[in-house]
Symmetry: C2
Subunit: 387 residues, 2 copies
Amino acid sequence: MREVAIVGVGLTKFGRRDDASYRDLGVEACIAAFEDTTNISPKDIEAFYVATGQPERHVVQSQPAALFAEYLGLDPKVAARVEMACTSSSVALRMGYIAIASGLVDTALICGVEKMGEAPPPELSVTMGIVDDKEFAACYGLTPPSVFAMIARRHIHEFGTTEEQMAKVAVKNHENATKNPCAHFQKRISVEQVLSSPVISHPLKLFDCSPITDGAAAVILASGEKAKTSTDVPIHIAGSAQVVRWNMMTSMPTITTWLPLKEASKRAYKMAKVDSKDIDVAEVHDCFTIAEIIAYEDLGFCDKGKGGNLIDEGVTEIGGKLPVNTSGGLKAKGHPIGATGAAQAAEIVKQLRGEAGKRQVDGAEIGLTHNHSGEAINQVVHIYRRK
Amino acid sequence: MREVAIVGVGLTKFGRRDDASYRDLGVEACIAAFEDTTNISPKDIEAFYVATGQPERHVVQSQPAALFAEYLGLDPKVAARVEMACTSSSVALRMGYIAIASGLVDTALICGVEKMGEAPPPELSVTMGIVDDKEFAACYGLTPPSVFAMIARRHIHEFGTTEEQMAKVAVKNHENATKNPCAHFQKRISVEQVLSSPVISHPLKLFDCSPITDGAAAVILASGEKAKTSTDVPIHIAGSAQVVRWNMMTSMPTITTWLPLKEASKRAYKMAKVDSKDIDVAEVHDCFTIAEIIAYEDLGFCDKGKGGNLIDEGVTEIGGKLPVNTSGGLKAKGHPIGATGAAQAAEIVKQLRGEAGKRQVDGAEIGLTHNHSGEAINQVVHIYRRK
């Protein structure tokens, strides 16, 4: 298996993008990624993965890989749309990694994209519900907020986590987003504002939830050899792991410890020959504030049940020992389903290159991304290293 | 790159399957594939690809890879839904090939599945239209029958191909389907019946078109080493190629010669170290009868413009020199979008193993599958060899 590095990243402005079509968003991110690399033009891309959740329902467009391939002027040997709900572009990143590590291709482009804002709200309830089993879960009205509300209630019961601690996750991520020009939200919020925002599914309030966002993110991968001439600072993918176990919460032995995440992080750390304490900066999947707290625990950043303490102590703020979601996270940067994993990777690349501007983590050399989907049943972890 | 072999295949009955849900179909095909192999159980599957077109619209279900993983009891290291419209499962087969050839995994399962019959006809017009560009093609009402009607009219104009020759493709494939218990249609038709069937988009009549079908097909792949203990007759993937160029017919230099197919077949032949004349049996993408005729030409089975002669001379019938679509093809076996490529592979595997029953091609050792999508802009070719 050969070395694989990220040599270019691109991001659109996240938010409500009525000025751009679905196609425009994907193309905008990919062009930005090409401008971020050297000696790699569209014709050089050998493997192309469009990561996107439900364009068929969100914008009434299918087969996006052919659409984007033409508009970008690509001529790839492998082209496909990859979907795994909220992890679509992390899974695509893993596929690009595999295609290059195998020796089959030297370059890959991942285009993560979703345009959600033009779909009417009832349609969004459908698209969010049907990532779960239609016949045994979605049909009863189960949607992500109710899933994560149950997880939060149980975590509060078992470990004494508080609604204030959850609120502090939102406050931190909004603070970080004010330092990220691409983030959906650009304003600070207070713990009081979170706690007094409308209840969505108790104990989750509006400001505990990530928003409906339009956006795209692109990543260009190259073999270790090719990377030398494609960027001044190649960021190597040192670890890559995915674990899918169960499809429904009702099948899980526990909903407050995410066993697939524990296993995925164990494999990724082993592959990268690092430990959780070696991580300098991380982007984790804070679709709801409770998810960031559980991610701290199951990634090994703290003991089980102590995630709330980490946020109380400021450990995961910029300036803390292990800054998490410096980009603003899904909560404040936004969560355009198919784009999220690639956007996480882009943030870590910028941090490890030292290009993260006002949100830069000093001396960051090893980074991690964590992305999950469905009822936390599918977990993807990547580890990145500046060499 | 390591050797990769197919060690198990499974197919559901194709047709209108009101007796089975989308989930049931996929699971049925995968169980059949596991029963077709030895020493590989669900827990041994390391990479899992669900190939499916638009379950979000056809059956209102997303994230199928997690759904099927749970129901099959899998624990894969890589899991994703792969979509590339009508080529979804051929592209997934190529991804499985890459993952094993790379040395990353030893086994892969491809589950191709589509349930189209429960969607109301207006919904199907949407799903078929939006594989093309929504903003520049689908919005004008362009759907696959009108695309292939234009291609057929031009082929008739340039090369003198006749409507009778196109009809004979349908007659041959219906004849073959009567020998395939899994095929959607089980009845013979005549040239007169095809020519007098209702016009869909001139010159295409109803019986020139593949039907709306429910069905699933599964393929289990293993490394060359692992294959030795997993089947008596491993069928090696000797060539694999995909070419995506343009997204719309209007961009193409010609619509009667499919340049991406010529290039894909050239690459696949080269990789397999064979020539078109070495192929003993082939499954080609006969979404419309004209497509089979053009496939003959651009796969190099005959000179350009002479595809009609091949069907006149009976070359591609069972018993002819190069039998094509022994399964009944998309035309008569059926075309459940996501399942088609895997079903083509399954047919070739059965032929090369000598297990094709009444439709067996004597002494077949080298087989080919050809699968395309959209306006023939994305072409995938695989070559298989019995060793």
